[in-house]
Symmetry: C2
Subunit: 334 residues, 2 copies
């Protein structure tokens, strides 16, 4: 079955690297995609005008030039109206409202891919955002793990990898996501495991905090490798325990990527002794660090299930991050 | 079936950390081990006297105090005569001669564990050293991956992990190896896969060279994570292709540990532009770097099988290390 030409809309403007890649690939794969890529941009002052005239988003990646075929639109329904391929890169607190606006106003052929970070923990339940979107819009929703690492490929021209997790029987759609995102430096794989890919993307940020503690303590490569291996085992165990149809190999064979600012901030946490809230203000321009946020949500969820003690590394990372446990006790309970 | 009290002999003096750990555990687990641990030391000047009087090996870990129950013996047959548990930590070029001396002179209850680094490539054949020893002595031989990382636990009091790979039906022996090596900072796991553990231990050094190239290039955490993931997949593929009865989970669930001096020397290779032979002289006191040696052996073996192109990362690491390929091409062929 051939896929019809896709019309792409990016819902959210927080990830310029993905916008750049999608614009670039939509233009060069003209057999598969419409040239114009819409990007819904929450209107602050005249941000859409600036993006459409200067082709750059000063708020996020100010040095990245966006392709001119990426067009900013401040009305989400208008941005999505004719699109068949919706990319969700919103901060998670806006998802439900945006989906409410979109419901009934999208193409019957529309399908989506979520790049939303973290997990949704509410009322002692845990969900991935791809499921939240799929349910809210009634369309298939896949997931891309680690969209933030696209920044390394785009802004700094560095090699990185990520994975599309897709629904069973949606392989054709997955191939079109891979085609839309894969570049020479940003390698995109795929596996039919939406939950596994989403959870890998969220939980690896927790483990990266542990790896950063290791670095801050000056414990060396072998200790860090041990933390990452134990972390990967807890990630897999957690996902298999609390989600259906997760594939174990998603955690051991696809690209996980423990790195970036979670690790760096955790290193600074140990070295400076400053709380994460201060480091977020100083190092991240006030943005929340994903790894510690997810560590807190996972800890709360496990507490509600009486399962905290089955995940000693997750527990320790939470307690060091938020309850004053000394970082040097990182491996004491493992 | 209860295991009788084991008498331990360490064949080789190059790993003081393992000697320290074995001495310490033999003394505290007096239900399982004879107190005295013999250590065969190749006699240079009066090295055995120095070790037995000062309880330190100035040649290797000069700051490590050996337990006084570790007794250096310069005659290998004498060191091994009454032993039931033989630990092989020799440089690989001495194994066959030492086994020749031991053959017929060891206890009928003797069994062995190999900590010898690398793989044995000869006449277009590849073997692990645990098989070489098992065949030469006619006794079961297990393997410990990454004995060198014991140095971090002992000399610098840092957390690290390793794995015992044991033969099918030799679980009781494996438990005694774990008991002999496991400490609070040096965690020892086990799996019934001698070949997998040995190959993991050898090939991870090759991948660590690639990780070090990444660091030297300043490519960041995500690129390094990608190299390690791709490397792990090539390690697993190689082992399953060329060895019998390897368990895939050995590569994804047991402790691998990509680090240490292989990574650091590879970083220096990129940053200084000096060849590995010079770096070995400058940074390793003339010792050979395991990762590049294994990279060369693996490349030669794959060449003899016409399978080089099936392992693009192994090929690239070899070519950067020895054939002048620019490090920045690390990911070009992946």
């Amino acid at each position: 079955m051939a896929i019809e030409k896709q019309k792409v809309a990016i819902i959210g403007s927080g990830n310029c690297a993905i916008a750049k890649i999608a614009g670039y690939n939509a233009a060069r794969h003209s057999d598969s995609f419409e040239r114009q890529v819409n990007m819904y941009v929450y209107q602050e002052k005249n941000l859409t005008d600036i993006i459409n005239e200067e082709h750059t988003n000063k708020k996020y990646l100010p040095n990245v030039q966006l392709p001119e075929n990426v067009v900013a639109i401040s009305n989400v329904e208008e941005a999505a109206r004719d699109a068949t391929l919706l990319i969700f890169v919103l901060p998670h607190q806006f998802i439900l409202n945006v989906c409410k606006s979109l419901k009934g106003n999208i193409s019957p052929k529309a399908h989506a891919i979520s790049m939303i970070k973290g997990v949704d923990v509410r009322d002692n339940k845990i969900s991935i955002f791809a499921d939240v979107i799929q349910e809210a819009l009634g369309i298939p929703c896949a997931a891309l793990s680690g969209a933030n690492i696209a920044n390394e490929a785009v802004a700094r021209d560095k090699f990185s990898e990520t994975t599309v997790g897709y629904r069973p029987n949606q392989r054709e759609l997955a191939l079109s996501y891979v085609k839309l995102f894969d570049t020479n430096n940003f390698r995109v794989g795929m596996i039919d495991d939406v939950a596994g890919v989403s959870l890998c993307g969220a939980l690896k940020n927790v483990v990266a905090i542990g790896a950063g503690f290791c670095d801050g303590l000056g414990w060396g490569d072998n200790a860090k490798a041990a933390i990452m291996r134990i972390g990967l085992m807890e990630m897999k165990k957690f996902s298999l325990e609390f989600f259906q149809n997760v594939k174990p190999e998603t955690f051991t064979e696809t690209s996980a990527g423990f790195g970036g600012r979670n690790r760096k901030c955790a290193e600074a946490f140990v070295k400076t002794g400053k709380p994460f809230s201060v480091l977020e203000a100083e190092l991240l321009n006030g943005q929340k660090l994903q790894g510690t946020e997810t560590a807190r949500e996972v800890y709360q969820y496990l507490s509600s299930r009486n399962r905290v003690d089955a995940y000693p590394l997750f527990r320790t990372i939470y307690k060091i991050s938020f309850e004053g446990m000394p970082p040097a006790q990182l491996t004491s309970d493992l």
